[in-house]
């Protein structure tokens, strides 16, 4: 059974959130609508809901992260859950404890949800398969595989500005090869029926047979950026690169960096997005990152509501009527 099916219960409801692949339009719309209801919470006097009161959420971060970790933490706190964040790269793993032993120990602390970030593709699914059945597992990024909550916050941000997906042209630019963000986002946009998805990258930074994901491939920004509604710039993942995939950062900026001149090729109301952290002067010019078309910080804010939605939906689907067992 693949991660796709493993994350659903017999009635097709989300028990875990491991990948966008294989989900239906209804799943995604449900998450987006729930996130929309949760978005206003931050504007109130009390920025908190009682929904997950009494639940314990553990962030298991085997790989460094600031934005994702803190927004997951805030999301859990705004739903009144207790939250524990473990940066495992710096603790047990170093002392030689196996992943399963780490899991068993944390499980013994009566937790209800694991949020997992790991450098290995498939790590979140592995954990979901080995934890007790009452625990929900959310993938906060696994290797090159998937980053489903990032994809959901991206489409949430797009939908708030441009709800007509059928006529939407989205360009994803840069290091597609190493990007779990790109992979998950392409799946989400396809499921939601986006008009056209383009990827713009040098051949060395594209996965083989990328066309099979349902995208149009461009190698030059001046062809690919024309008249698009949304530009998603990806971070150049230097830490994942092995060998000489690109000549230099300067060269990359020269060929692919988002400058004001290139931005002018897109629609006048284009949205500029980036999952962060941004490498200024590598993927994106500061004037564009901080400019009027940028929604990069909005993405961060929206990440909280989207993560709250996924947490309450998956934990809610673990709920059982009194007396009924799994």
């Amino acid at each position: 059974m693949s991660a796709t099916h493993f994350q659903l219960d017999r009635r097709g409801r989300l028990l875990h959130f491991l990948t966008i692949e294989g989900l239906t339009r209804d799943h995604l719309i449900d998450i987006l609508d729930t996130a929309e209801s949760l978005h206003g919470v931050a504007e109130r006097r009390v920025k908190k809901l009682p929904t997950l009161h009494g639940k314990t959420v553990v962030n298991l971060f085997f790989e460094a992260s600031t934005r994702t970790r803190t927004t997951f933490e805030l999301a859990a706190k705004r739903l009144s859950a207790d939250v524990l964040t473990l940066n495992i790269a710096t603790s047990s793993a170093v002392k030689g404890e196996s992943l399963l032993d780490t899991l068993r120990n944390i499980e013994a602390m009566q937790c209800d949800m694991f949020v997992v970030r790991h450098e290995q593709s498939g790590a979140a699914e592995f954990i979901a398969r080995h934890v007790k059945p009452h625990i929900a597992v959310l993938n906060a990024g696994d290797g090159r595989h998937a980053h489903p909550t990032q994809a959901m916050l991206d489409v949430f941000t797009i939908r708030r500005h441009k709800p007509d997906f059928a006529n939407l042209q989205v360009a994803i630019v840069g290091d597609i090869l190493h990007s779990r963000v790109a992979r998950s986002l392409i799946h989400a946009l396809n499921i939601l029926g986006a008009g056209e998805i383009r990827v713009i990258a040098p051949r060395t930074l594209l996965p083989v047979q990328v066309e099979n994901l349902g995208v149009r491939v461009f190698h030059r920004p001046r062809d690919g950026l024309r008249d698009v509604d949304v530009i998603v710039m990806l971070r150049l993942q230097k830490e994942r690169m092995e060998g000489a995939l690109l000549p230099s950062e300067q060269e990359f900026f020269h060929c692919y960096g988002l400058t004001e001149e290139r931005l002018a090729l897109a629609k006048p109301d284009v949205l500029v997005m980036h999952p962060g952290p941004i490498n200024r002067g590598v993927e994106i010019d500061s004037r564009v990152a901080d400019g009027p078309r940028s929604v990069i910080l909005e993405q961060v804010t929206n990440g909280i509501a989207v993560r709250m939605a996924v947490m309450s939906i998956t934990l809610g689907n673990h709920a059982r009527p009194a007396g009924e067992t799994a």
Binding site: S37, L38, G40, R45, L49, S312, I313, N317, A319, P321
Partner: protein, 165 residues
């Protein structure tokens, strides 16, 4: 099937009297999704209240999350006024156990501290499990537990009584 419009007229009369007796000149109405919002809009027009209507979704405040999870079709709550110090009228279609009203009150207080909250319901069908009573009631129905009363709308508001289970 029963026409709900005359009941809403009766609610409007009671509410008008109550507000006058309490010397509340500028109340704001808050409807609980979905039926409560429809009724609150009718009451707002009937009473000539100019302040915008509040919409409240109580899904995230319900006490049955551990049993049934998040309700489908959650909508954003919108209270387009400052709750702090205001006189609120909370409006719902059916008052039964009182659990929805409990959830709604908790939700309201996360927006601010209102001066007062009145409760107006179209139908009180009894069966209370919490110490909650309505100030304004359109109709009182004594229904067996296996019958459900539901409001349909939003154009023509009608009450439908159905057998459950």
């Amino acid at each position: 099937m029963r026409d709900a419009e005359p009941l809403i007229e009766a609610m409007a009369d009671q509410l008008r009297e109550l507000l006058a007796a309490r010397d509340i000149a500028e109340p704001v109405l808050v409807g609980i999704y979905t039926g409560g919002v429809w009724i609150a809009e009718r009451l707002r027009q009937s009473l000539g209240i100019t302040a915008p209507l509040g919409h409240l979704d109580v899904s995230f405040y319900r006490d049955d999350f551990s049993r049934i999870g998040v309700h489908r079709q959650v909508r954003p709550s919108e209270l387009p006024f400052d709750v702090e110090g205001r006189h609120l009228v909370l409006v719902d279609d059916v008052l039964n156990t009182g659990r929805t009203v409990r959830a709604a009150l908790n939700g309201l207080f996360d927006y601010g501290r209102p001066a007062s909250v009145l409760l107006a319901v179209l139908v009180d069908r009894g069966g209370r499990e919490l110490p909650i009573e309505a100030h304004v009631v359109g109709a009182r129905l004594n229904l067996p537990v296996d019958q459900q009363v539901q409001l349909t709308g939003p154009e023509l508001l009608r009450l439908v009584i159905q057998q459950t289970g």
